[in-house]
Subunit: 450 residues, 2 copies
């Protein structure tokens, strides 16, 4: 098998043993470190197709890999499979200015695509923290969310067309650049978010948008969650171009601010909101009105990009990983109005089980998306992570939410899928998987419960 | 079989023979008039499930029907099948103000849902001409487009969750109200646009948006298509809330205006654009700048809702159906920058084959969506419609476009599907259909080539 693959892809396209770089052995969840049988590095759609046809023939499992920034174990290799990296299938093929679309290869690093769009005078409306290393193909395969979903939607919402190679090597091309296309089943949306279990995305057409003007950014302090909800409603009505409404619960704000060399609010407020919208008089009027109504008790307005950066650095909690080794970032979704009720229950339940743990909350709350940061006391707590999951996802089920808002399922949430999807839905997913990948070689053991 | 169905649904839920109303015998394409074996009218999800289980057991085909406003024959019954109407499964179950979502039953008339949203202070962001009779379930099953796609997207883009009954009666529930949900395959997008061939949509969660302020509307005259493209680019940049950019080619404008009791432009311009955006000084500034640059040669700005209505009446061409019996409205999509090149070729080819025919063009051009209005000379031209299709869809294939931007495939475009989707894609669709509807009872003969 490996000889066939080496013949098809050349020596640089098929690495084995020590030649396989560390980066290909585990994704950013740092779980499931393993050496695959080989790391395939096709440089063209034709080579992806040839590689899959060989794997299909030999019933050899394939684990697709992008920038390895995933947090759910979805790209972790295993010793009985080959990994297939898209890194050599990269580059921008076309920017269509009138059609406002970019044709891009799957292995292109998101930030490269963003910069190319910007040079052509457009916004590429997908953005997330890992932009410097994640790849477009992985963004699509996991339907990545990110920081501007409130304005721009998820990755799938900015996808005009994709080209996919199926398990048997068939190339399924729909590099459509048209916005409207009602000709049968929407395969684009089926592959988006399928985490490499149905085929390998090789190229995509991403919708571009006009470059927005530099926004206005504020950090507001709010006294309680009712005020947060009311403020969100007012912001939605007053600021049609609202591009961020990011909430930090007091526990998160206090911890993150303590790690920074600057202080934004001397007393961490019950809730802090980063508000971002087009620079318009309505922005300051909204803050004034919210202040008058007692919804906002204090607010800082960024006077420079550096000011805004300071707000975002606090929110992104970049220093937390170092301060809390073993930090787990759970990513869930439920009705916006119940987020604080959930957070209170979740905090109490986690602390009852793990006294002394770090537990804090933040999230893209306008998108009903909450992140739970958990760090257990003690050194090696891998065994207890299951208990954390059981507590958090058990509550998610009770609240009728989703166990994964934007991180996907991978291996880490696989066994909890039934908390968010019904048996009938999982059965339908299995039927679709079997229809498109009858030999089950595409990223087995990921997403669907075994 | 019919007795079992009658027992499950009651006499009012299972009509036969003359009791089946005219409306259930043909959709708005007025093709394929037929009397089904029975018209099923379930009043609950449970009844839909019971009815499908019976049909599945007896391998009896089922044709789902909404408001029968489709233009592609997708809801046309046939004498060997039962039709299943959702009309009794109607009503709004919930409006979640904080979550900005509406839970609605499939048989609800779109306009009723729009009004309910409006009363609660929200916009239901799906709108089309047939709003007074089309139903939400049908809007989703056909992924309806409409007049505000440029701002609000297609129906699928406003869908948070759906509940579907599969061919065997299994209820697949995902009435999710969360914006972000990355837990496996997106079945919601698979059923949206599947035209009843995979299952029956029974309920849905539609995303609501803040009510927009009354917009400003203008009708602009432009000298050529290059000016249209440039004006579109300027409008996108200057008017972030742009909600309509509707183009009429001279042939369409002249014909439609002649049927109206008022005159908007004495001399029909090469291109007329209806521009709609939030009422903001940027709107008039854009028009002035476009005028100064020679892109716009004349413009009318609506001073009242009645003025705006006059522009839209011209664009909707409501009097054309009566003036041109047998009018065909073809709905296609291709790269925006090539729309006029397509229109010129298409007009020439149609008139060469059918001298004296009416041929005119209009469309949602910012969405790359063109409509071709064709009326052949003579009385009964059904036989020649195939030739019209061959000319228009042949050109669409040459231009790499889509044979259906928003109307769907149904029966009328079924045999042309290969002009827009590859053999591999059609094979993948068939595999998915077989996986979810193994007995092939769901709307057979629609969408997929026989």
């Amino acid at each position: 098998m490996l000889e066939e693959l080496r013949a098809a892809l050349g020596p640089v396209g098929c690495l084995t043993g020590d030649d396989i770089p560390e980066a290909a052995r585990s994704d950013a969840s740092r779980t499931g470190q393993a050496l695959p049988l080989a790391l395939l590095r096709p440089a063209s759609v034709r080579e992806v197709s040839a590689a899959l046809a060989i794997c299909h023939h030999h019933r050899l499992s394939v684990v697709p890999q992008g920038g390895m920034t995933g947090l759910a174990g979805g790209a972790n290799p295993d010793p009985a499979s080959v990994a297939l990296s898209l890194e050599r299938l990269s580059g921008i093929e076309e920017i269509d200015a009138e059609g406002m679309a970019m044709v891009v290869r799957a292995g292109t690093v998101l930030e490269h695509a963003q910069l190319a769009a910007q040079e052509a005078g457009f916004l590429l409306p997908v953005d997330l923290g890992a932009r410097g290393s994640c790849q477009i193909g992985g963004n699509i395969a996991t339907n990545a969310g990110g920081l501007r979903v409130i304005r721009d939607g998820m990755t799938r919402d900015n996808l005009l067309g994709i080209e996919v190679v199926l398990a048997d090597g068939t190339v399924l091309g729909q590099l459509s650049k048209v916005v409207k296309n009602n000709t049968g089943y929407d395969l684009r949306h089926l592959f988006a978010g399928s985490e490499g279990t149905l085929g390998i995305i090789t190229r995509a057409v991403i919708r571009l948008r006009p470059l927005p003007a530099p926004p206005r950014t504020a950090l507001a302090a709010l006294p309680d969650f009712a005020a947060v909800l009311k403020f969100l409603q007012m912001a939605r009505e007053a600021l049609p171009g609202l591009s961020a409404f990011e909430a930090m619960w007091r526990d998160y704000f206090a911890f993150s601010q303590n790690l920074l060399p600057y202080t934004l609010f001397d007393t961490p407020p019950p809730f802090a909101i980063i508000l971002e919208a087009p620079d318009d008089p309505a922005f300051d009027m909204l803050l004034e009105r919210a202040f008058d109504e007692g919804l906002v008790t204090d607010a800082l307005i960024a006077r420079s990009l550096a000011d805004a950066r300071r707000f975002w650095t606090l929110r992104e909690g970049v220093a937390m990983d170092a301060a809390l080794p073993g930090l787990i970032n759970l990513d869930i979704s439920l009705a916006t109005r119940r987020l604080d009720e959930f957070a209170c229950r979740c905090r109490a339940d986690l602390l009852a089980r793990f006294p002394g743990a770090h537990v804090s909350f933040f999230g893209h709350i306008a998108d009903s998306n909450l992140h739970v940061a958990v760090c257990l006391p003690g050194d090696d707590n891998t065994a207890q992570i299951h208990d954390v999951d059981a507590i958090v996802y058990g509550l998610v089920r009770e609240f009728g939410g989703s166990i994964s808002a934007e991180h996907g399922v991978g291996t880490l949430k696989r066994d909890w899928l039934g908390h968010s999807r019904s048996e009938a839905e999982i059965a339908a997913m299995r039927a679709i998987k079997a229809a498109l990948d009858p030999r089950g070689i595409m990223n087995p053991g990921k997403l669907l419960p075994i």
